[in-house]
Amino acid sequence: MSAEKDIPLDIDGSTKILPWIIAFMVYIASLAMAGGMILSDVAQVWGHGLTGNLTIQLPITQLETENDINRRIKKAIKALENMQGIDTIEVMSQAEIKDLLEPWLGQNIDPSSLPIPRLITVTMKSGAVDLNELRRRLIAVIPDIIIDDHQLWREQMLSLMQALQSVAMTIVFIVAVAGIIIVIFATKGGLATHRAVIELLHLIGAYDHYIAKQFQRHSSRSAFRGAMFGVFFAAVTIISLAYIANQLTNNTLDLFVLNIWQWFALAAIPFITALIAMLSARRTVITTLKQMI
């Protein structure tokens, strides 16, 4: 038998439950962390998608003929073509506009009978377009033109994502603090339960760190075992949710699958948990034993 079994922590009822509590807490923390990482990805992907795009609206009046409208569109396209950094310019067809409106106005609509602005979608080469210059040039040729670079929407969406990420990280933090408190109480319980053994070890010449080492090992092993369970079930939950989400959205939500580095981050949780448990147990034992003769 090795020296680490001098104190019978393994057969101690009060510490047997520790891995299960840790497992549950790590499960919650892992889901929160995965949620935070997914939100970060979503924010990045959506942000990227919108950053390189402009939507230009040409308001029309019922007095305008189709020729008038086309002439104005051509003016706008010409102004855009003269700008540096423009990648593609696409005038949305009446059919595409109809498709866009269909969910709100139904199938039997004729876009030409409604005062719906004509839309031009523009994609830009990354960072190459001076938006103020573009705005100035377009307004010079078509004063009532509306240029939407999605800035407001993007900012609001990013704020929401950041708020949700903060909530996720707060949950991880609270769970970590609660975990530390649980380890401290379990260690204190162990110290009280095994006081006689600890006294004996002291009397035969054991240093505090010899005793602390046994609690450290026990706590880190229990925490590691529990955290492995927690991370495993969190991974199963994430994959299941990703599967369900993909089924519901016809496999369009690939975002819900974590990338390899994010899976590594989740896999690191048991090691970090074990380290935190070890340090918490050590500190608790050393502090408590200082008060013993």
């Binding site: 002291h202 009397l203 035969i204 010449g205 054991a206 003769i293």
Partner: protein, 231 residues
């Protein structure tokens, strides 16, 4: 080696259980500590194995003043003291082997050496057949011998034994005392707290007698006194 000067000790705010205790133990000495129950024998031993601190007076162990000793210095001194507790204090979850090996493990001895020394010592105390059993299955006398083996495994400079013959018959008690004398001949100072008058007379070592917390030094019984009792 051990020096007590006007030592007093009390538990909490209770009365003094030891009063003005003064004595000196030389290296490789052998003493009996006697006294009625409650006279303070266990308290005196507790002071010697650093389980308690005195309320007053000066205690020097291995030339270190234990009243000013820091916590980090205590294990070093405790490792030089072997203690046979009255209630044995064996760890129930450990085997005989692991109980005896405990002091060696605490001081970081290699497992190979631990195995060699523990088996050798268990042979010596007659427990070679009980290496892998746990204390719950041992008799009182066997537990006593495991406790003694644990106390002497690391060749202490000082051996303190609290009623080591309390749970054994006279034949085994005598054998244990021979064992302590053998250790003493190898240089270990021995102090045995006992009620056993036969043992004290037979082994003829100086006596420290506690009466109501005060210590009286008495010489060893002479051969003629011992023979009178033995007859």
């Amino acid at each position: 080696m051990i020096q007590f000067e006007n030592v007093g000790m009390r538990y909490g705010v209770g009365p003094e259980v030891l009063r003005d205790v003064t004595f000196h133990l030389k290296p490789a000495s052998f003493h009996f500590l006697t006294g009625a129950s409650g006279a303070g024998k266990s308290s005196l031993l507790k002071l010697m194995y650093l389980a308690n601190k005195p309320s007053r007076g000066l205690i020097s162990i291995f030339n270190k003043d234990i009243t000013t000793l820091s916590k980090s210095e205590m294990p070093g001194i405790r490792r030089r003291i072997g203690v046979v507790f009255q209630d044995f204090r064996l760890l129930d979850h450990l085997t005989t082997f692991d109980n005896v090996a405990l002091p060696l493990r605490v001081n970081g001895t290699a497992e190979k050496l631990i195995k060699k020394h523990v088996i050798e010592l268990l042979n010596w105390v007659g427990l070679a057949d009980h290496i892998d059993v746990r204390p719950a299955t041992l008799s009182g006398g066997q537990k006593q011998r495991v406790a003694i083996a644990r106390a002497i495994i690391s060749r202490p400079s000082l051996l303190l034994a609290d009623e080591p013959t309390g749970n054994v018959d006279d034949k085994i008690a005598v054998r244990l005392l021979y064992l302590f004398e053998e250790l003493n001949r190898m240089g270990t100072s021995v102090l045995i707290a006992t009620h056993n008058e036969n043992i004290i007379r037979r082994f003829q070592h100086p006596i420290l007698q506690l009466i109501d917390g005060k210590l009286i030094k008495k010489p060893a019984y002479s051969s003629s006194q011992s023979n009178m009792v033995n007859q």
